[in-house]
Symmetry: C2
Subunit: 465 residues, 2 copies
């Protein structure tokens, strides 16, 4: 007769203890295939448990296939392979993630100052959405996102970017990485995507993760080198025409027309316009979007709220040309929206009530002030006469070209030794960085308050002086 220690004082139910004990014996081979388990009544008596306990344990074992019930015969152990010999887990330690930063000042580009975000307004709108929508927040929404939000995005695009699209063309999604992946799936992997070099390191990662071929194209003063694009076999170009990242180049009107013409030369050519920081133009009014001039449905517009609101709010969107909508709906129309309904309604109200526009105007001024502080601090430092800057017409970073005899690596190392993190321009190049201007670092200033920028420049002057 099977004998197990059943602990009546345990929190674990008796049947579960019995089930686990028998299961272990089957898995380790102590009970072997074909063996008949004891009848319920004698086993119950033997273990001082109720017959129901044994029955429940046997039922569970049968449900999981460890034993088989044969009517009028009883329960028989099934033939079960024993488990493979485990590799000690120490062989695969959990890798440590990022260490805390050693830097006092970090001029990184992918941050925003969330201290300026009107959180009390956002929280008020959030509470109102909870109250007003109530249980409706639980209902699944349209795959492309909540209509109210898409309508607000449509209005925003029309009023501030001159773009005319319908809410039906807009897809709201959980950030850039998700949306660019979706675009690659929609446009396909059997083509080559032209990407800018230098450019976003993350962008090339996304294309690589999707096994999509890329053709890195350099830039001249007018934007993406047009001859190089034509010479490539790319049929889609991913661009930052309003303000190139990281060089700051604004694609000229002539180049825009040339790019649109290129896209019009074949039915499957598209331009993906990444309008990532169009809200933060400091000189003159915003540069019109390429999409504004797109009368032939060749431009896919892409933007996110990560820079204008907060990175924790994972909301971005694309506006598809009409001619791509049937393919999108056929292939992805069944995908669920990746952004919770609650955030979508809250953001819709934030846009509708004008809070977004007020916030963007406020932080544009704030970042402009930081830029001025940074430029002044540089001009008044001992570095003056030994550098020039570029890319200062729009935010939220500039290029600092040093002429103090140090190369890029020396600039980074000596800044780091003085507690300041700066980023070498060459690391933003895809493939060869031979076209990279020498001794150039990128300074993102959105994450450093004005008061600290002066100290950060002082530290740089000490490092590089």
């Amino acid at each position: 007769m099977l004998t197990y220690h059943i602990d009546h004082s345990s929190k674990s139910p008796l049947y579960e203890q019995l089930y686990r004990a028998i299961r272990r014996d089957i898995m380790t081979g102590i009970l072997s295939g074909g063996e008949r388990l004891p009848a319920k009544r004698p086993l119950a008596a033997h273990l001082h448990v109720s017959q129901i306990t044994v029955e429940t344990a046997y039922g569970q074992l049968a449900a999981e296939g460890y034993v088989r019930a044969v009517p009028r015969s009883g329960y028989f152990v099934q033939q079960v392979d024993t488990l493979p010999h485990p590799i000690p887990p120490a062989h695969h330690p959990i890798p440590t993630t990022s260490q805390p930063s050693e830097f006092v000042f970090d001029f990184k580009t992918n941050v925003v100052d969330t201290d300026c975000f009107p959180f009390s307004t956002w929280a008020k709108l959030s509470r109102a959405v909870l109250t007003d929508y109530d249980r409706n927040l639980l209902l699944e929404t349209a795959p492309q996102g909540v209509f109210a939000l898409r309508e607000q995005i449509r209005r925003y695009l029309y009023a501030f970017r001159g773009i005319s699209v319908e809410p039906e063309q807009i897809i709201v999604g959980a950030g850039s990485e998700y949306l660019v992946t979706l675009l690659i799936q929609l446009l396909g992997r059997k083509r080559t995507y032209a990407i800018e070099t230098p450019g976003y390191p993350k962008l090339i990662q996304i294309f690589q993760a999707n096994d999509a071929a890329t053709a890195p194209i350099a830039l001249d003063d007018d934007g993406l080198c047009f001859d190089a694009l034509c010479a490539s076999n790319a049929s889609v170009a991913y661009l930052t025409p309003s303000h190139h990242f990281p060089l700051g180049i604004v694609t000229s009107a002539a180049r825009r027309m040339a790019l649109l013409r290129w896209a019009n030369e074949a039915d499957d050519r598209y331009l993906i316009e990444d309008d990532y920081d169009s809200e933060f133009r400091f000189v003159s009014r915003p540069i019109p979007a390429l999409k504004e001039l797109d009368h032939n449905d060749r431009v896919i517009y892409h933007n996110t709220f990560a820079k204008s609101l907060a990175p924790s709010l994972r909301i971005g969107y694309v506006a598809l040309p009409r001619n791509l909508l049937p393919a999108y709906q056929a292939r992805f129309g069944g995908y669920a929206s990746t952004v919770p309904v609650f955030e979508q309604y809250t953001l819709a109200r934030f846009l509708e009530t004008g809070s977004f526009e007020r916030h963007v105007n406020r932080i544009r001024n704030l970042y402009k002030a930081r830029l001025d502080t940074l430029l002044n601090a540089l001009a008044q430092s001992s570095l003056t006469g030994h550098y020039h800057v570029s890319g200062t017409e729009a935010g939220l970073h500039l290029l600092l070209h040093m002429e103090n005899g140090m190369n890029e690596q020396e600039l980074i190392a000596s800044a780091a030794a003085n507690g300041v993190r700066v980023y070498g321009l060459s690391s933003y190049y895809v493939g060869s960085s031979s076209a990279c201007p020498p001794a150039t670092v990128i300074l993102g200033y959105a994450g450093i308050p004005s008061a600290q920028l002066t100290n950060a420049v002082a530290a740089l002057a000490h490092a590089w002086g």
Copy 2:
């Protein structure tokens, strides 16, 4: 001299009207490349606007590259291609999306009854999270998700599924489609993925959208056909072992061991365990997860909160084996978390306070009652004796095998004619459906309240009687 009508009563700034007018003339070729714009002062006088207005307009045109400023000479029109001839937008009408349903009752499988969701508790926790975390909700979180939520998922997996993983192994993401895409990117497209047939139609869509090769494998009574898996060139198998969708088969203990052994035979083999409705087992206790038996790091566990909470809350997760963590971190460690921080904290509290467990227990009973109502209504209807059911041990759907002489298409059509939508099993097969049992429909009952289920069955009895 350029002459434009400047509307002083318009809401549009004067400089913008002038800028737009000149830009239009450049784009349409009225002003041609090389032409010199009038000097600012005479043009301002001519148009009755201030000199600042002209200067601002010229500055904007220069910023966008429509004109070029030549010091001490003035502004010159740049050579700009005229725009391609637009295709009338009517050629690409916006496709209409889903029409409202014609059905009185819809036995679809991918719904849950959100009426049972404790929304007041959720809203209370949401408000508390807004108050307690305040501005911290704006900070970007770890790419894998908020630690507090991953810790709660770890506890849940340990307590209810017997799975031991560390929070570092868990990746929170915006739903299944996102997470499976991530897994395909992590495991690569240069291999074949075994998938179950029949199975989720969406799953095959995701693999296709990612250009990942699949090997559809049939099931026998023990689960995925083992010989067919071995004969395929698959190195990863995507499975629903606790409760196969849609057949309801529980993978037997012997088959589980065989699958684990298969995965152990090569270093790059993995099993993806989709534990989609393990919370809703009605007979005996939950079937243990394959991951519980995975001592050699071969099982990737995947689940979402779409069925246990609400589909509008786009939160799912995967638990990676430790040996995949270095590759994940190297390639995707820079990706931003796709779920807003706010929802992550709220769900963490929902789990922590026991609300989730109470809710799941409540809806398990509710769905069990619906299942009983459905089975009773069928048994008491005129259909009795002309059908049998299977897959009723777990939720939230069953298979109804009809023996009334109608084939699957006739069953669906006559049900539809009586206002009831049922789903033919054959449509869930990948490739050939020759193995599909005849005249079988899937009834998902989670979305239909008990009171209506009786009426729905009456309508089916009328259709099929």
